[in-house]
C-alpha cells in the first residue's frame, strides 16, 4: 500500500475539475475520481473527502494501465468529459450534477444527484469503478444493498443512494467495486442521489440520465449566452463566470469563497483553512464581476443575501457568514484525515468569523454602488442597513483591525482597510444622490477627507518609497495595488507607480505576485503567490495605461492555469502547482476584473 503522501494518491490541486449544481460542488481528478463532494450544500460535511486523506472516500471510474487522459468541459458548461485513450481503445466518463430546473413543481426527484456516464468510443476497454463513500469526514458508511444494483447509506437523516447498471464484483458495507469489459458504443450509467429528512426519490438510469444531461447542458448554455463578452480572453472569462456561478447558492444567492476546506497554501505547512463560507471582503469583487458581464440576477440575488445575512449583526459586520447567514463558524480540527499530502490539520469552520475586518464595510457599500451603477436598485430597508454601516465606518475607522489577510497575531492599522473605509464613505456619498440612502453628508465628507489624508499621506513610507501594508510598518502588501481601482489615488500618481515597482521587485516573480512576505504573518512557513494579487497587478497596469505589460502578464498567467482554466487561491511558480482551496472565487473575480480593465482600455480585439 502506498503512503498517503504519495503524489499519485494526491493529484496536483490544479488538476482537479469542478462540477456542481449551484448548491453542491464536486472535485473530479484527471484519473476519473470524485475526491470531494459535500452534500447537500457546499459547507455540509463531505461524502467524499479523499483529497484530504486516505480514509476520506472516493468514487473512481477508470481503467488499469497507462492511458492518455484528456479532460474538457462540454461547450463551456460544467459538464465534464474525461477521455481515457489508448491505441486500441478509448472511452469517456461524463460527470455532472443534475439540475432541478422545475424546482418542487416538477417530477419527484432526489434533492441532489451526481451522474456519471461511461461511453466506449472505440475498442473493448476494461472499465472499473470503486465507490467508497465516507460521510462526515471519513466515517464508516454502513452500506446496505437495496435490490440488485442499488446500495443505500443512511447517515443521520440523510439517504445516499448509489445505483448503476454495471457489473459489480465486490460489495460490502464500506465499498462497492466492479469492472467490466465493454464494447464500442456501449454505455453505462452511475447515479448517486441524496435526500435529507425526506422520503427518498429513486432516479432512473439510461435514457433518463441522458435527458438530465441535456437539460443541464441547455440550462448552462442559456445562462452563458447572457454574458456580455468583448472578444479577447473569452474562454477564460466564461470559465471564470461558470466557476463563480457554481459557488453561488441558487437557494440563497450567497457566493462561497471556494468549495473546499484545508487544501494547503504550502505543502507540509499548516496554512489550511475552511473556505466554504462567504466573505464580506469578496462582496464587491464578486458582485461587480457578475454585473459587469451582464448577470444582473446573480448580482441582485447576492446583494439581497448580503442584506439578509447582515441583519443580526447590524450595524456591524462580521467578516464571514455561511450561505444561510450564520456567523457562528467555530473553527475545529478533523482528526480522522491527515490532510492533502500530509498537510494537516484539516479544519472546519473558520476563526476569522470573530475578527475585525474594516475593509468589509467598504466592500459591501462598493457592491451596492456597483449594483446601482449598472441599473440596479434597493429599497428603504436596505438603505437603512447601509446607513448603519456608514455610521459604523465613521465611528470605527481609527481602530486597528485584522485586515484583508486575516492576520491572527494581532491587529494593525492596515492601509487597505483604511482605503476601503474611504471607499465606503465615498460610495455612500455617491449613493446618497442616486438612491434612498440618507446620510449626514457633512460628517461623511469630513471623515472621508480625514481618511484620504491618512491613506495618501500617512500611508506613504519615505524610507521604503512605497505605500506599505500598515501605518508605521515597513512590510509591503499587494492589496494596495487596488487603491487606484477604488478611486482614492490615480494609477499614474508617482507614489502609486513607485509602490507598484517596489512590490514588483520584492513580492513578485514575473507575473506572480505574493500578497506579502510570508515571514510576517507568524505561520512560520512559505506560501504560494496569491492568484488574485497577480490579476490585481494586471488590472493596475491596465489602469496605469501600461497595456502591453498588462496583456503580456495576463497571457502568461492564463498559460499557467490548467487545461480547464480553473484557479485556486495560490500558485507556486517554481513547481507550476496550484495551492490552497480550489477553485477560489476571488481568483476568478480578479481575473474577470483584469480582463475587463484591459477591454475597457480598448484592447478587446487586438
Amino acid at each position: 500500500m502506498k503512503g498517503s503522501d504519495e503524489p499519485s494518491f494526491f493529484p496536483p490541486i490544479g488538476e482537479y475539475a469542478l462540477i456542481g449544481d449551484m448548491q453542491a460542488c464536486a472535485l473530479v481528478s484527471r484519473s476519473g475520481s470524485v475526491d470531494w463532494l459535500c452534500l447537500p450544500n457546499i459547507a455540509d460535511p463531505p461524502l467524499f473527502s479523499g483529497v484530504l486523506g486516505r480514509w476520506g472516500g472516493r468514487f473512481r471510474i477508470g481503467a488499469e494501465g497507462d492511458w492518455t487522459v484528456e479532460q474538457e468541459y462540454l461547450d463551456d458548461t460544467p459538464i465534464l468529459r474525461t477521455r481515457f485513450i489508448q491505441e486500441a481503445a478509448s472511452f469517456s466518463v461524463t460527470d455532472f450534477l443534475a439540475l432541478r430546473t422545475e424546482g418542487l413543481g416538477g417530477p419527484i426527484e432526489p434533492e441532489r444527484e451526481l451522474l456519471r456516464i461511461v461511453e466506449v468510443e472505440s475498442g473493448c476497454p476494461k472499465v472499473a469503478f470503486s465507490f467508497e463513500p465516507r460521510p462526515g469526514f471519513g466515517r464508516d458508511p454502513q452500506l446496505q444493498r437495496r435490490g440488485r444494483n442499488a446500495w443505500a447509506c443512511q447517515h443521520r437523516a440523510d439517504l445516499i443512494l448509489f445505483r448503476n447498471d454495471f457489473s459489480v464484483s465486490e460489495a460490502d458495507d464500506r465499498q462497492v467495486c466492479g469492472s467490466e469489459q465493454l464494447n464500442a458504443g456501449e454505455k453505462r450509467y452511475f447515479s448517486l442521489s441524496f435526500c435529507r429528512r425526506d422520503v427518498g426519490a429513486i432516479p432512473g438510469l439510461g435514457p433518463e440520465c441522458e435527458t438530465k444531461k441535456n437539460a443541464a447542458h441547455d440550462w448552462w448554455s442559456a445562462w452563458l449566452s447572457q454574458a456580455e463578452l468583448r472578444g479577447r480572453f473569452n474562454e477564460d472569462v466564461k470559465r471564470s463566470l461558470v466557476a463563480l456561478r457554481l459557488l453561488t447558492s441558487r437557494e440563497t444567492g450567497a457566493v462561497a469563497a471556494a468549495p473546499t476546506t484545508s487544501l494547503p497554501e504550502w505543502i507540509g505547512a499548516k496554512r489550511n483553512w475552511d473556505y466554504r463560507y462567504c466573505w464580506m471582503r469578496d462582496a464587491y469583487f464578486v458582485l461587480s464581476a457578475f454585473i459587469q458581464y451582464g448577470f444582473k440576477n446573480e448580482a441582485s440575488g447576492y446583494f439581497n443575501w448580503l442584506m439578509h445575512a447582515t441583519e443580526q449583526d447590524k450595524p456591524d459586520l462580521r467578516p464571514v457568514y455561511d450561505i444561510f447567514g450564520r456567523s457562528d463558524l467555530k473553527e475545529q480540527e478533523v482528526s480522522q484525515l491527515e490532510g492533502y499530502r500530509n498537510s494537516g490539520p484539516v479544519r472546519i469552520g473558520n476563526g476569522a468569523s470573530g475578527q475585525v475586518q474594516l475593509d468589509s464595510y467598504g466592500s459591501v457599500i462598493l457592491a451596492a454602488r456597483s449594483l446601482v451603477e449598472h441599473g440596479g436598485t434597493f429599497g428603504v430597508s436596505e438603505a437603512r442597513r447601509l446607513r448603519g454601516f456608514v455610521e459604523t465606518v465613521c465611528r470605527r475607522w481609527r481602530e486597528p483591525d485584522n485586515g484583508i489577510w486575516e492576520m491572527r497575531q494581532g491587529r494593525l492599522h492596515h492601509l487597505y482597510s483604511k482605503a476601503m473605509c474611504w471607499a465606503a464613505l465615498d460610495s455612500a456619498l455617491w449613493l446618497s444622490d442616486r438612491s434612498p440612502l440618507e446620510i449626514n453628508r457633512n460628517a461623511v465628507h469630513a471623515e472621508r477627507a480625514a481618511l484620504e489624508k491618512v491613506v495618501c499621506v500617512s500611508g506613504w513610507n519615505e524610507k521604503r518609497q512605497a505605500f506599505t501594508g500598515a501605518l508605521g510598518r515597513e512590510h509591503l502588501d499587494a492589496s494596495v495595488l487596488l487603491l487606484p481601482k477604488i478611486g482614492i489615488i490615480k494609477a499614474d500618481h508617482p507614489h502609486m507607480v513607485a509602490t507598484f515597482e517596489r512590490i514588483d521587485a520584492e513580492l513578485a516573480k514575473g507575473p506572480f505576485v505574493w500578497r506579502y512576505d510570508p515571514a510576517i504573518d507568524g505561520h512560520g512557513s512559505l506560501e504560494g503567490a496569491f492568484v488574485a494579487c497577480c490579476f490585481w497587478a494586471v488590472e493596475y497596469l491596465a489602469m496605469a495605461g501600461r497595456m502591453e505589460e498588462a496583456v503580456t502578464r495576463l497571457q502568461t498567467l492564463i498559460g499557467a492555469a490548467g487545461d480547464l482554466g480553473l484557479w485556486s487561491e495560490e500558485y507556486d511558480p517554481e513547481t507550476g502547482h496550484m495551492l490552497g482551496n480550489m477553485p477560489q472565487g476571488l481568483s476568478h473575480a480578479a481575473l474577470l476584473h483584469a480582463v475587463r480593465a484591459i477591454h475597457g482600455a480598448g484592447m478587446s480585439n487586438s
Binding site: 413543481g105 443505500a152 437523516a157 445505483r163 429528512r197 425526506d198 427518498g200 426519490a201 429513486i202 432516479p203
Partner: protein
C-alpha cells in the same frame, strides 16, 4: 349497537374537536422526528403523492388527507371506547400502540403494492414510480421510524381517551 352509535353521536363535537387536536399532536411528533433526523417518514407526503406527483402540491393534499383521516379515526376510537365502556388513558394508549403496530407492520410494507408512485423493486424505478419503499417496519426511512410511528399513534390514542367521556 344503537346505544354505542347514539353515545358517539351525542359526543360528536368532542370527538371532532379532540380528533383534530390528537391529529395535530400526532403529526407534530412524526414531523418533529423528521426534522430531528430520527426518521425520514412523512405520512402526509406519502398520502399526497397518491394524488399528485409534484412535491409542493403533494404536501398540501397530503396534509388535508391526513387531517381527514385523523378525524375519521377519531370516530373509530370513540366507537371503541363506547363499546368497551371505558376511556381510561391506558386503554387509549393500547389502542394507539395497536394502531401504530398495524401501520409499521402491515400498512407501510404493503404500500409499494398500492401506491401509484412508489417503486416496488429498487432496480426498476420508472418515470412514474420514484418513491423509495419503506421496507419492513419502515426501517428504510430510518432505524427509529417504527418507534416514532408507534409513539405518535400512542399519543393520539391517549389524547382521544382523555377527551372522550365514555
Amino acid at each position: 349497537m344503537n346505544e354505542i352509535l347514539q353515545e358517539v353521536a351525542a359526543n360528536w363535537v368532542v370527538v371532532a374537536a379532540w380528533g383534530l387536536v390528537a391529529t395535530a399532536v400526532m403529526t407534530s411528533v412524526l414531523e418533529g422526528a423528521q426534522l430531528f433526523g430520527f426518521s425520514r417518514l412523512s405520512l402526509p407526503f406519502l398520502f399526497g403523492t397518491f394524488v399528485v406527483s409534484d412535491r409542493r402540491r403533494a404536501m398540501i393534499f397530503g396534509y388535508l388527507l391526513y387531517l381527514v383521516g385523523g378525524w375519521l379515526f377519531a370516530f373509530f376510537y370513540a366507537l371503541l371506547f363506547s363499546a368497551l365502556a371505558t376511556s381510561e388513558w391506558w386503554v387509549g394508549a393500547l389502542l394507539g400502540i395497536a394502531h401504530g403496530l398495524f401501520l409499521v407492520a402491515v400498512f407501510l410494507p404493503t404500500l409499494p403494492i398500492i401506491h401509484p408512485r412508489m417503486v416496488t423493486e429498487y432496480d426498476a424505478p420508472g418515470p412514474g414510480q420514484r418513491l423509495e419503499p419503506p421496507g419492513a417496519f419502515g426501517l428504510h426511512y430510518g432505524k427509529l421510524t417504527p418507534i416514532a410511528t408507534v409513539a405518535s399513534q400512542t399519543l393520539y390514542g391517549c389524547i382521544m381517551a382523555l377527551a372522550y367521556p365514555a
